[in-house]
Symmetry: C2
Subunit: 407 residues, 2 copies
C-alpha cells in the first residue's frame, strides 16, 4: 500500500487525543515509513486479568483502528508476565495470579472483542513473558539502573501513597519498568493508552532512549465518562456499556445519556470528523435535528460495531414502534420496586399509580388498554417475577406511562 | 567437638561488638547447635572490588575467628554477582565492572590475607553469583515484593541523597535485597559486618523471615579509627596499616598512635580479655608500665599475626637498637622533601638543617658522626634516590636528629 502524506496522517492520528508527544518526532517516523514503505509499530498493552471490556476501553482501540487504516502495524500486547506473578506482596486483591490457561482464555476473549473494531490481519498479539522471562538477574539490574527512585515517586499514585504512608513494595517499581522494557523489546514507534497511563508510556519512551533506540511517541486518549455523564466509565460504578451487551441494552443505555455526553461519545466512539461534529451540534441547536434522533444514530453506530447492521436496524425499529409511534413522552416517570416473585400485574399497576384499584387495573387489561414494552397484555391474572436489574415500560390507556425499575 | 555452654559462647561473641541482635534468639540457636552437635552458619560478605585489606577490616575478621574457635562454620561470601555487573548507571566510578578472572584473582588475594587470621579448614568461600544468577525475573519480582520503598529510603545514605536531590537509581535498591537474599540462600544463623553495614544485615534478617526461614542474628563491630586517632581507617585518608605492610612499617606506624588509640586497638585487634585490658590501663596510669612498651607489644602482636614471631622479634630488636639504646628522643623533628633522584647526601643534610654547609656535612660523615636509621654513613659523596612514601631518620653528631619524609 502507499501511505498518506505524513502531515495528513498526523492530523488523523492526533484528532481526539488528550496528549501527543510529539509532532516533530512523529513526522520524522511517518516520513521514513512512507519512504521505505514500511509500517510503523504501534504498541498497546492490555491487562489480561480483566478480559471483559466496555465501550470506554474502545476509545483507545478506535485510535488503533485509525493507525490500521493508515497502514500501520498493531502490537496488541498481553501483559502475561505480571499476570502470572500476580501481586507477590499479597496486598492487592485485585491482582490475582493467573494460570497460563486463564491468561490464554482471557486473551482469546479480549481478542474476540477488539476484533469487532480492529482488522485481525494487521494485528499481532504478543505476550511480554516471551522476552521478560529470558532476562537474567543482571539484565533486571541493568534495566532498573535506568530509572531513579525520585522519578518513579513522581507517579501520581506513588506520590500520594508515599506521602500518606501507604506502603509501596519495591516490586511495584519494577512493573512500570518491565512494561517500559516491552517497548525496548518491540522497538515500538508509538504507544497508546488512556491519560491514566501517561507515566507508564513515558517510562517506555525513556527506556528506549537508555537502550540506544529511537524513542517511541506517546499518545494518550481521554477517559470516557459513563452513562451518568459524571464519572469515568467503569464496571464498579455500573455506568458502563459492555461490548457484549445485547443490542437492546446498548440502545436503551445510549438513549439515556445527556445531550452533552452524546457529543462527547460521538467524538470518542465514532469515526466522525471534527467538521461533521460541529455541523451536528449546530443542527441540533438550530432545531433542524431532534437530539433524540441524533442519539438514535449514535446507538445504531454502536450496535452496528459490536453486533451487526441488521441488529442496529431492528433495535431502531423496536424503539420507533414502542417509544415514538406509540406517542411515548420524552420524560417517563420512574417507579422503583424491589425484586419480588409472582407479583400480580394488577397489584403492580396500583402500586405504580396506573390504576386506583385492582379492579380498575383488571378492566383496563381486559379492554386491551395496557402494554408492557409495547406488547398488549391479555390476562389480568398474570403474575410476574420481577428480577433485580430489569426494567420495562408499562403503559395504561393512551397517556399513562411508568418505567418500572426493579432494584 | 563439643561446644561450650551457650551462655559462655554468647559472652565471647558479644565482647567488643557495637550491637548484637539479639541475645534471646542467639541463645536458642546456640542451644540447638550444642544439642545437635551442629555448627552455626556464620556469614560475612566481602567486596571483591577491593581485595587489599587493612587492619581496620580485620576487626570483623577477628570476630569471625572467635566464632571459629567456638566451633562454628564461616561462610566467607564473595559478592561477585554485583561486581560482575559493576554500576550499570555509570554514575559510580568506584564500582567498576570486573571480569571473572579479576574476581577470582581478588578472591585469592583476599583469602590469602584473611587466612592469616582464620582457619581455612573451617572457612567456606562462596560466591553469590551461584544462586543469584539462577533467579528468574519472577523470582526477582517476588524478592523485591518483600521490602518497601519507604523502609529502603530509611537507610542513612539513601535518606540523605533523596532529601538533597542526589539521584538514586532503582537498581541501588536491588543490591541490598540481593545481598539480603544471600542469607536466604545460605540459611545463615548470624551475619557480621561493620556498624556501617547494619541496614544491609537487617535486610538479610527480614528477607529470611519473609521466605519462611529462621531469622539470622546480626552482629556489628565498631569501625576502627586510623593512626590519626580521629578518622575511620581508610586508604583514601592514608591513615591505615595494610595487612601486607612490611614488619618495619607496621612497627613504625603502630608506635606513632596515641595512648588512647592504643587501648582501642588492643580491644578491637588483639585477643585481650576485658579484665586484662583494664589491668593494662591501670598499670600504665600507675606508672608500672611505660606506654611505649605497651605500644611495642601491640606492634609485635600485629607483626606476629600478619608476618611471623621472628619478624616481630626482629622489628623490636631494631627498634631498641635505633630508638632506645641510641638515645633517640621521643620527639624527632620531621623534614619533608619531594621525591628526587641522585640527591647528594651532604646537600640533603644542609637542607634538613643538620649542617650549615656541604663542607661541614662532608666532614661529619668522614668522621663517622652521621647515621641513617642507625647505620653509619661512610662516603660523603654518596647520592640517594628519594622515593615518594619512604622515610628514615638522619642523625648528625650526638644530638641532632631529623626524620626525613619523602613526599
Amino acid at each position: 500500500m502507499s501511505f498518506l502524506a505524513p502531515h495528513e496522517q498526523l492530523e488523523r492520528i492526533k484528532f481526539g487525543t488528550a496528549e501527543f508527544i510529539n509532532d516533530e518526532e512523529m513526522l520524522k517516523k511517518l516520513k521514513r515509513s512512507k519512504e521505505k514503505n514500511q509500517p510503523l509499530k504501534i504498541k498497546f498493552g492490555a491487562d489480561p486479568t480483566r478480559p471483559d471490556i466496555h465501550i470506554g476501553h474502545t476509545v483507545v482501540i478506535n485510535k488503533l483502528k485509525t493507525f490500521q487504516e493508515l497502514g500501520h502495524h498493531i502490537h496488541f500486547l498481553i501483559g502475561d508476565f505480571t499476570a502470572m506473578i500476580g501481586d507477590p506482596s499479597g496486598k492487592n486483591a485485585t491482582r490475582p495470579m493467573l494460570t497460563r490457561e486463564e491468561i490464554d482464555e482471557n486473551a482469546k476473549t479480549y481478542a474476540k472483542q477488539i476484533f469487532k473494531i480492529l482488522d485481525p490481519e494487521k494485528t499481532e498479539i504478543v505476550y511480554n513473558s516471551t522476552w521478560i522471562n529470558k532476562m537474567t538477574p543482571a539484565d533486571m539490574i541493568r534495566m532498573s539502573a535506568q530509572y531513579t527512585v525520585a522519578r518513579m515517586l513522581e507517579r501520581d499514585d506513588f506520590t500520594k501513597r508515599y506521602k500518606t504512608g501507604v506502603p509501596i513494595a519495591i516490586h511495584e517499581f519494577l512493573y512500570p519498568l518491565t512494561q517500559g522494557y516491552d517497548s525496548v523489546a518491540l522497538k515500538s514507534d508509538v504507544e497508546l493508552g488512556g491519560t491514566d497511563q501517561k507515566f507508564n508510556l513515558l517510562v517506555g519512551r525513556d527506556l528506549q532512549g537508555a537502550y540506544g533506540l529511537e524513542a517511541q511517541c506517546v499518545l494518550t486518549m481521554p477517559i470516557l465518562e459513563g452513562i451518568d455523564g459524571i464519572h469515568k466509565m467503569s464496571k464498579s460504578l455500573d455506568n458502563y456499556i459492555s461490548v457484549v451487551d445485547s443490542a437492546k441494552e446498548m440502545f436503551g443505555k445510549t438513549m439515556r445519556i445527556s445531550d452533552d455526553l452524546m457529543y462527547r461519545w460521538y467524538e470518542l466512539l465514532t469515526e466522525i470528523t471534527p467538521a461533521a461534529l460541529a455541523q451536528l451540534k449546530l443542527d441540533v441547536s438550530e432545531k433542524r435535528k431532534h437530539p433524540r434522533d441524533v442519539k438514535v444514530n449514535l446507538a445504531k453506530f454502536l450496535i452496528k460495531r459490536f453486533h451487526s447492521e441488521a441488529a442496529a436496524a431492528a433495535a431502531e425499529e423496536e424503539f420507533q414502534r414502542i417509544f415514538v409511534n406509540k406517542g411515548m413522552p420524552d420524560e417517563i416517570p420512574v417507579f422503583e420496586v424491589f425484586a419480588e416473585s409472582q407479583l400480580g400485574v394488577c397489584a403492580l399497576m396500583v402500586r405504580a399509580g396506573l390504576a386506583n384499584s385492582n379492579g380498575e387495573a383488571g378492566r383496563l387489561i381486559s379492554g386491551g388498554g395496557v402494554q408492557r414494552d409495547g406488547q398488549k397484555l391479555a390476562d389480568p391474572k398474570m403474575r410476574w417475577d420481577l428480577k433485580s436489574g430489569e426494567s420495562f415500560i408499562l403503559k395504561a390507556g393512551k397517556l399513562k406511562f411508568v418505567k418500572v425499575v426493579v432494584k
